[in-house]
Symmetry: C2
Subunit: 391 residues, 2 copies
Amino acid sequence: MYKIIQVDGGICASEGFFADGVSAGLKLDGAKDMAFIYSENECEIASVFTTNKMYAAPIKHFKAKGDFKTNFLLINSKNANAMTGQVGVNDIDEIMLACEDKTNPIMSSTGVIGVRLPKQKIIDGIKLFDLTAKDSKNASSAIMTTDTFSKEIALNVTFDDGSSFNIGAMAKGAGMINPAMATMLCFITTDAAVTSSQMQEILDEVTTKTFNAISVDGDTSTNDTVILLSNARSGAYEKDAFRDALFKVMHFLALEMVRDGEGATKLVTYKVSGAKDDREAEIVAKALSDSLLVKTALFGEDPNWGRIASTVGASGVECCEEKLKISFDNLCVYDRGELHFDEEMEKKASIVMTHKKFTISCDLGIGKGEFKAYGCDLGYEYVKINADYRT
Amino acid sequence: MYKIIQVDGGICASEGFFADGVSAGLKLDGAKDMAFIYSENECEIASVFTTNKMYAAPIKHFKAKGDFKTNFLLINSKNANAMTGQVGVNDIDEIMLACEDKTNPIMSSTGVIGVRLPKQKIIDGIKLFDLTAKDSKNASSAIMTTDTFSKEIALNVTFDDGSSFNIGAMAKGAGMINPAMATMLCFITTDAAVTSSQMQEILDEVTTKTFNAISVDGDTSTNDTVILLSNARSGAYEKDAFRDALFKVMHFLALEMVRDGEGATKLVTYKVSGAKDDREAEIVAKALSDSLLVKTALFGEDPNWGRIASTVGASGVECCEEKLKISFDNLCVYDRGELHFDEEMEKKASIVMTHKKFTISCDLGIGKGEFKAYGCDLGYEYVKINADYRT
């Protein structure tokens, strides 16, 4: 058995990890725009990247290395180094020369697409790094773009025999509603004694239920990245405990991203059950959280269950109106062909929709497939941010 | 050879067809809300319906009839008769009793989902119809929902030997940006001597390049309908001429829908070429016209070609940044890996984006696949209309 508790320190909570953020002049307002994660020991690596075929230079650079260990990760905001071709990869190589005492240093970027990195500013920024700093707050602020708050968490897992390990993490972005910057980045450290292949298997599994439950929409970024580093310093590891803690870390950060969605005022869970299989449940849940109809109805606090039914029907999965059940929290608004949505029920449903958090459930009544997705509303603020972002 | 000219009369331009619109009290402001199309002769029918699995009662009612001819089509706005189960179909059967002197009368509906038809109002409305009226303007107004203008057109096709036929049509809705009402309806009459199966083949082909080039997004309606009626009164027909004229009619109405998209200020053509095949070109063109990133950039008149590249890459088709070319009208902003988007070019591109109509071209540089899709921008007005629509 094991106990999981939340601890301070974010990305630096794992033993032997250091991090900080500095201002290198990439953001014009002088805000922090470069961060590092450094480990005294070399780290095993697991990673998940965007499925976008125009994936950015830092991802090309990473993938070209094959299997490797690292002790240094450099991150910049404001410029995504995407659509920059081989030149963009060469720029990273040059920047990495400024980190030449590190083992296989790697880089991650987020920001505008199609502009070359300001190489000299970044090289000068690296000189500002203090590798003995453990300032996870600075680091998590430096990777922000349109985020309105920084996102970090750390957990400690202690076993009955007293041994323990830590997982720390930070993220930026960019839930379902935030395609402007498009990018979500997440960096996770652990001192658990876990190998690269063990981590990769668990990371893939957990990503499906966390970041992929919020971020897969039509606007998948060129830069989406999750990197998990382990330096094994604690000597402790157990698979179920690690999976459990990693899920909690990534679930928390995924919901933080939705909560910070551009202009979002509500966090909605789409709970789909009774689908033919889990895959069809996932298709429906994501269709609901992606739908402009549904998002704008949420913003207007309009309990328009017809739009939900229509979106389910349009998603292409096996379904029919005689088996569908739709609920807003515990209030069933449509029950397998029964039209019982009168004025009183509309009032009750409207009240549910005024809440900051609620659940929309759809039971398709076909099989045992289940999936939960997370989304938010779409209002004027979203249009404002995205119409004006680049210029 | 043949000559095509535009003529007056809309849906009534085809010989032997009558139409009108009346106010039956479904719309609370007294606006027209019921229309009919009547033909002295029985008509051959071709049709295309929504792929939404929650398709509405009028579509169930139509499909249940199998092969048939008709001389009467009843249309109401304000209530979609969707998600109303068998009760909704029975309601249509009862209403059709009030048209019992007609041959296989059929019905089409658009409006709110999940509310039963106000049956008595509709039956009373039928009594107001004047079957000798040829008022296509009234008819096309009566089928409007959030449309800001009615949409109709008629063409005459004359052959060298002096024989001729007409095609008339009206539509409502609901381009890519208008999922609130979700529905697009289009009714087409012709006096060409064409059979049901001949019409169906051509209608399917033309729909792909017109209504399906604007309307297939995540929010496919429960009620989308295209019905084409032929009474063969002219005695004239030739396949190429008919296809040509039908394309012109449907293309015009499709673009009218986009132009009338809720809150839309721009009509953008997405011209995709160089894809592996036509299907992949279609996927990219529709991904671009569906993308919130792209739509909001259009609204902001921001020539953010990076969002376009990212959307192409995220669409899943074969592509790579070294072969991609992006142009705004004739201005190439990204050329197969060359970053030449400087301030001067940004100014030029911004000027293109201030136009009411322009073309965004993407050449994937892979093969010979081509497709054109049509879309518009997304601004504050869209949110306003959709957040407040139902209540």
